[in-house]
Each structure stands twice: as C-alpha cells, then as structure tokens.
C-alpha cells in the first residue's frame, strides 16, 4: 500500500528534460486525436462532414446529433435513441460489479485467512476461469440461462457477468489479502469477532485500493462487453449492442455526426470511472502485486 513516489533514478539535464516533455506532449496529442475527431464531428451538421474536412472545427455548432443519439436515433426498428439501452446497461453493470466485487472480496478473505484443505486447488481453478475465452461458454451459458428462465433478461446478464468476473475479482482480493497480516485476524478472533465481523470491521476498511481496482476492471469489462450482451440480452440489450445496431445499420443515410455522439456516449461512463478513480487504480494494482 505504499504511495507512488516521484523519485527518478537518474537526474537528467535541462535539454534532455525539455526533449522528453516535447516527446510526451506529441504522443499525448497523437493519442487524443481520435477523441478530437469524434468530438468536433459530433458537434457539426451532417453536410459539413459529408462536404469535406473531418479535421476542421464546426462552422455551425449544434447539439442536435447528441440529442438524436440519446433519444431519437433509429435503433433497429424503433426510433428510441440510446437512452433505454443506456438504462439497461446501468441496470446490468451496477449490480454485476457490486456482486462480483463483494463475492471476490469474500473469496479472497476465505482463501487467505480461513484456509482449508485444497484451497490452493480451488484458487487455481478460479484463476483458470480468467483464461477461458467468452466464445467457449456461449452455448453452455445459453442452456443454463434457459433452464433458469433468465434468458434475454437483465438478471441473466448480471449472472453471466458475475460468474465471468469472479475469477478476476478473487485474484485481486486474494493477492491483496495475502499481504494482510494474519495476526490481525487472529487478534480479532481472540477479541470475539466472528467470520463476517472480522471481514466487515477489520479487512474491508483497508480494502479501498483493491476494491477500486476490482470495480474499474469489472465496470469497463462489463460495460464494454458486446458478445454476451448481444447473445443473451434478448429484449434488454445493453448499450454496446445498441451502438452496433445504430452504426452498422445498412439502410438510410449514415448520420456520422450522430454515430460519433453515440460512440462518445457509450464510452463516457468508463471514461468517468477512470478519471475519478484512476490514480487509486495504479496504487491498488501496485499494492496487490507486491505479494501473491
């Protein structure tokens, strides 16, 4: 849980430093270029895009593409905009992230502090789940969801994402808690705290950094998932499936400005999560990686 420090191993001269900064700025600009293109084009009328310069700033500024993307664009057969799908995504992401993070934390707690015979095998198998490609589980998952009566629903998608995310969240929390002194757990045990009390009062309060890692990881993965969404979403498809339907539609005029706005809308939540919690992300990753 050490703070990231700014110590550099080698001190550099002024010229070299200027050069490094120049290079970094150039790279930053290069990386920001797509965002710039998306931004400016989502703010101009369609004829400005089709008429020529993609790189130019809008001649007439308009928020109309954003409004259209949000509430009136043609998604499949309905002119609903992305709004209902955005809500679907939120309804799916929030519980899926919460449940998989809490269960991952509990798993990590048990695998490090309440060890049992064969716990390393269990952990190994859970780790294994991180390496299974999505495509392999599609058919078995469809069968399970069908049997459970959850096919094509938001709870079904939540289940899929929780199951799939558990390997990762368990990995994070197990490695984090492995560095957590077991004597503390023993002390709490002698003080009379039970299984959940120790978890709640002793471990959770210091789990901030790794919880952030888990949340960011799960949030971006689940929000950006397309395959599960489109396969099991049914009538409650997430944002990614809707964006695909909008952008890939092969009939009518391609409204690039609306597409750009829609794409930004789809990427926005993950962007916000990174901006808000990004620095804890790095800190948490470092803390989790020291021991394990």
């Amino acid at each position: 849980m050490s703070a990231v420090t700014q110590d550099t191993a080698v001190s550099t001269g002024r010229v070299a430093r200027a050069f490094i900064y120049l290079l970094l700025i150039l790279f930053a600009l290069f990386y920001l270029l797509p965002l710039y293109v998306m931004g400016v084009n989502s703010l101009k009328p369609l004829q400005e895009i089709t008429g020529g310069n993609m790189m130019a700033l809008p001649a007439t500024w308009t928020l109309e593409p954003w409004r259209a993307a949000w509430s009136s664009a043609q998604i499949g057969v309905q002119p609903t905009g992305l709004k209902p799908y955005f809500i679907n995504s939120i309804l799916m992401v929030v519980p899926a992230v919460a449940i998989s993070t809490v269960l991952g934390a509990l798993n990590g707690y048990i695998l490090t502090k309440w060890r049992f015979r064969g716990d390393t095998i269990v952990y190994g198998l859970m780790l294994f789940s991180c390496f299974i490609p999505f495509q392999i589980v599609l058919i078995p998952m469809a069968v399970v969801l069908g049997k459970l009566g959850l096919a094509g629903t938001v709870p079904g998608l939540i289940l899929v994402h929780v199951v799939y995310g558990l390997g990762f969240t368990t990995l994070y929390f197990r490695n984090y808690y492995a560095a957590f002194p077991t004597e503390l757990v023993r002390a709490a045990m002698m003080d009379g705290a039970g299984f959940f009390r120790i978890f709640w009062r002793i471990l959770l309060p210091v789990s901030g950094p790794i919880a952030v890692v888990s949340i960011i990881w799960q949030f971006t993965n689940i929000w950006n998932d397309f395959l599960f969404g489109v396969s099991f979403g049914g009538t409650s498809q997430p944002m990614t499936a809707a964006l695909n339907n909008l952008v890939q539609s092969s009939t009518g005029v391609k409204e690039y400005n609306v597409h750009f706005a829609a794409a930004i809308l789809a990427a926005l939540p993950t962007l916000v999560v990174y901006v808000v919690a990004g620095r804890y992300f790095v800190r948490g990753l470092m803390a989790g990686s020291v021991k394990g």
Partner: protein, 370 residues
C-alpha cells in the same frame, strides 16, 4: 492441579510431529516463559493455549476447565502478538475496547475500563490516534492495553519485544515485569531471547525440537541445566563445554583436561557423586563467569582452583572483559572484571570456581553432576 494445565499435549501436522508430550502445570500468578530456538514448537504451544491451533492429543485446561475445542474468544485469555496486530483503521481507544464491544459490554463500562487501562499504561494522550501514528514502544503499550482491558485469566505473549530496538526492549522488559508484579496475573510468554526468559520468568520451559528440555526456575535452569542444549542455550556468552576425563586423587574426583600447550591439568570437582565415573570421559561445563582473574573470584565459593593458561583473545565489553583461551582443544571464554590487566599471548593465572561446574554424559549429553 494448576491454574493452567497442559497435560501430555502433542501436535502433529500430518505425519510430522512438532510437539512431543508437553506436560506443564502453571500456578496462578506465575510467569512462565517458553524459550527455545526458532522451530522448537514454542509458538505452536502458545497458539494451542490460545485456541488458534488445534490440539492433536492431550488436554489443555484453564481454571480446571478443559478448553480443547473451545473458541479462542471463550477461553478468557488475551494475547499480545509479535507484530502487535493493532487494527490499522481504528483509533487506540477503539483498538483497546474492540474486544469488550464484541463481548457486548455496555458502553459506560467500556469507557471506564479503557480509562483504567490507559492510566495504568500511561497512554491517555494517545487514545485518539491511529496505530500508524504511534512509535514502536507506544504500539507495544496499546497491544498490552488491549490484552489487559479484558481482565483475562491468562495472558499470552508471543515474542512481544522482538520488534523493538535494543534499548526500548530493555525498558519494556522492565515494564512488563513491573506490570506482572503489580497485577499478579498469570502469564505465558514466548521468546527466543534467553535474557528475557531469565529476567522475566518465575519459571522457564526450555524447548528444543518439540520437546521440553527442562522446566524450572531461572536459577535451576542456569545453574543445573538438564543437558548440554540447555546449558549452551541459556546464558550469554554460552556455557563452555569441554571434553574431560574423571580421575580420582585420594578418592576425590578431578577433571583431567589439557591447557593451551597440551599439558595435562587437574581441576578438583566439588561434586562427590562423580567418583563412580573414574577413568571415564565426560563433558565439563563451566560458565564464563566461573573462570575469572583470582581477585574477581567468588569469595563465597568453597572450591576455587587456580589454572595458568595462555590467553588467545581479549574482548573488552565495557562492563566485563571476555578472555578466550584454549582448554582441551576447545575455545573457552572467561569473564574478567573490566579492568583486569590481561592481553593476548600472555600467560595468565585464572581462577576456576568448580562449585559451579557441571558434568554431562558425553553420549546422552544429559547432566550427571551435580
């Protein structure tokens, strides 16, 4: 029956037995120290008393109640851990009262107990701090406060001083001793430091390879060690152990050894029971402080033997000067007064206090005299 009874307790991990038939009875108010090198099973035994490890066979009873299988929190014991194990997210006050809170003690009572303990340990001014803001010694006090506040039957200490620097360790050692004298509580204390064991305990159990080698008062352990292991483990510098042969002169047993030149020397034993060992090899044990300069020899001893020998190394340590010489082919350390005038290469007249000599069987390494 004692206050804390450990009856024929063993511990195995699979086929590996780490504790063999430990049998210790601790009276109320006793300060028992379990001492031994790492891996001797002392911490395992402590954890078994605490209930953190299961007992493979045998019984542990506190106040006559067998506690095998009883949850740690229901044994009415408290433990101070090596790392202090203070909850990092709680203040000192919360740390100390957490146990009471878990046991459902009412708030008013908790606060009163906290105030008492804080006063006793002089940590009143630290109550609102987090453990990270405390020094090592302060953390140590808080950890003790957390144990004291519960008013348990038995206190367990797991190497509580090993994380402190040398000076603080000595101070805290005295603190713990004072606390024990003041409160008269029953304490089981684990350490690998033989000085802590000697200074703190009313009784010591020296452990090695899962066996209790010797159980006795510090004086017994120091003066009449049960075997060569105990003799060399307890005391610093360690007891000198050198091969010797018993020789009778006018019916009185003597130890026949050789000096630095290889010449034969005789030291008269004070222990007549060695007569039966005439002509046989033994291991002679002499503590460094029993070999001195003649002026520094113990005046109360009835058997001071002179021994001239060549000095190989001198090490002034401030309060004493340690002198190394060769006897029977082994390096032997003698403890002189600080200002004893002795230098390396010099022939010096040593005085050996044979009242304090111990003899061991060279095969079994068990003590045969006194």
């Amino acid at each position: 029956m004692g206050f804390l009874d450990i009856r024929n307790v063993t511990k195995s991990y699979g086929s590996v037995q780490v504790l063999h038939d430990v049998d210790i009875s601790v009276a109320e108010g006793e300060f028992l120290v379990l001492v031994g090198p790492s891996g001797c099973g002392k911490s395992t035994l402590l954890n078994m008393i605490a209930g953190l490890e299961s007992v493979t066979s045998g019984e542990i009873a506190i106040r006559g109640r067998v506690v095998n299988g009883v949850h740690p929190s229901k044994r009415n014991i408290a433990m101070v851990f090596q790392s202090y194990a203070l909850y990092p997210n709680m203040t000192v006050a919360q740390n100390i009262t957490f146990g009471l809170e878990m046991h459902g003690t009412p708030r008013a009572e908790r606060e009163r107990a906290l105030a008492d303990v804080a006063k006793l340990l002089q940590i009143d001014h630290l109550l609102d701090r987090k453990p990270a803001q405390l020094s090592g010694g302060q953390r140590q006090r808080v950890a003790m406060g957390r144990a004291l506040v519960r008013d348990p039957d038995v206190f367990l200490f797991d190497e509580p001083l090993s994380n402190l620097d040398a000076k603080l360790r000595v101070d805290m050692r005295t603190e713990i001793k004072k606390l024990h004298q003041k409160l008269g509580t029953t304490i089981v204390y684990v350490t690998h430091d033989q000085i802590e064991a000697m200074t703190l305990s009313t009784r010591i159990a020296v452990m090695y390879r899962g066996h209790v080698q010797q159980l006795g008062t510090p004086r017994e352990i120091y003066d009449t060690p049960a075997n060569v292991f105990v003799a060399t483990f307890m005391g610093s510098p360690a007891m000198n152990i050198l091969p010797a042969r018993v020789a009778l002169r006018d019916g009185v047993p003597h130890a026949r050894i050789t000096d630095a030149e290889g010449a034969e020397r005789l030291l008269r034993f004070s222990q007549p029971n060695l007569a039966g060992w005439d002509g046989r090899d033994i291991l002679l044990g002499i503590r460094p402080e029993a070999i001195t300069d003649p002026e520094g020899a113990d005046r109360k001893s009835g058997n001071i033997q002179g021994l001239a020998n060549r000095v190989s190394v001198t090490e002034p340590a401030g309060s004493d000067t340690f002198v190394t010489m060769v006897l029977s082919g082994r390096d032997v350390i003698a403890r002189m007064r600080a200002d004893a005038s002795v230098g390396p290469g010099q022939d010096f007249d040593f005085a050996v206090n044979m009242d304090k000599a111990v003899a061991f069987d060279p095969q079994s390494e068990e003590r045969i005299a006194p």
